[in-house]
Amino acid sequence: MNLRRDVFQAIADPTRRSILLLLASQSMTAGAIAANFDTARPTISKHIQILTECDLLRQEQSGREIYYHFNPNKMKEIAEWLMPFAKMWDDRFNKLETIMKKYKSKK
């Protein structure tokens, strides 16, 4: 993988997100992916290259064709990135709830 590529940068682009959505349900060749967009073919190829470098897509050779498919494990990593932030707030709010329940019973 090319270390220049940041996975968050990769999903920040709307075209690349559309490509991921397309491939979520099926594997496709670069040509079939490009056929879904009005954008020039080399631009789509570049997007596919970036997604592949970030490990969001995997290549699979089938005869003379290369099929791209979606790598769900990498997407899971992205979802987990927000987890510590959510957990921090959840812990704080749980504490708030516990303290205020005691406060209520003290009255």
Binding site: F8, I11, A12, R17, W81, L82, P84, F85, A86, K87, M88, W89, D90, R92, F93, N94, K95, L96, E97, I99, M100, K101, Y103, K104
Partner: protein, 155 residues
């Protein structure tokens, strides 16, 4: 246990929304934000000042177990409507995170349950993403410190 807190941070936006439902009457939930001694307890921070009123200001100070100050936060309260809404600024002193605008909306669900909607707006998308990564980085740092502790005991 399943998390009850929802974070909505859309790609490329300089804001985020945190929502949480509480097993508490609305008045008690609001009190937890308005009373300095209660804020101290659940935020785990020292409240140097908290003037819960329009044009009021606040300053909190968080220390580590040894009593060293880790960081201070401060801000100004722009709206303080009991049991309904607090609008305030929030700044972590001496950090590159800038000033954020926080809008807290408190809502009654039933006599004994309530909901908090916390809308946070940052100066830029980059700043928001940096703040989001903070606990992640802290978690890593904590792991590093633990490793360092273990290693230094081996010496």
């Amino acid at each position: 246990m399943e998390q009850k807190t929802r974070i909505n941070a859309e790609d490329g936006k300089q804001e985020l929304v945190i929502t949480r439902e509480f097993d508490l009457p609305l008045e008690l939930l609001f009190k937890a934000y308005a009373e300095p001694d209660i804020v101290e307890q659940w935020m785990g921070t020292k409240v140097l000042r908290l003037e819960s009123k329009k044009h009021g200001s606040y300053q909190f100070e968080t220390s580590d177990a040894q009593g060293n100050v880790i960081f201070r936060v401060n801000g100004t309260i722009h709206e303080f409507s009991p049991n309904r809404k607090i609008t305030r600024t929030f700044e972590m002193e001496n950090t590159p995170f800038g000033v954020q605008l926080e809008i807290y909306e408190f809502e009654q669900l039933t006599d004994n349950t309530s909901k908090l909607n916390m809308h946070v707006i940052y100066e830029s998308v980059a700043q928001r993403d940096q703040v989001l990564k903070l606990p992640f980085a802290q978690g890593l740092n904590m792991a590093h410190n633990r490793i360092q502790d273990i290693i230094s005991k081996l010496k």
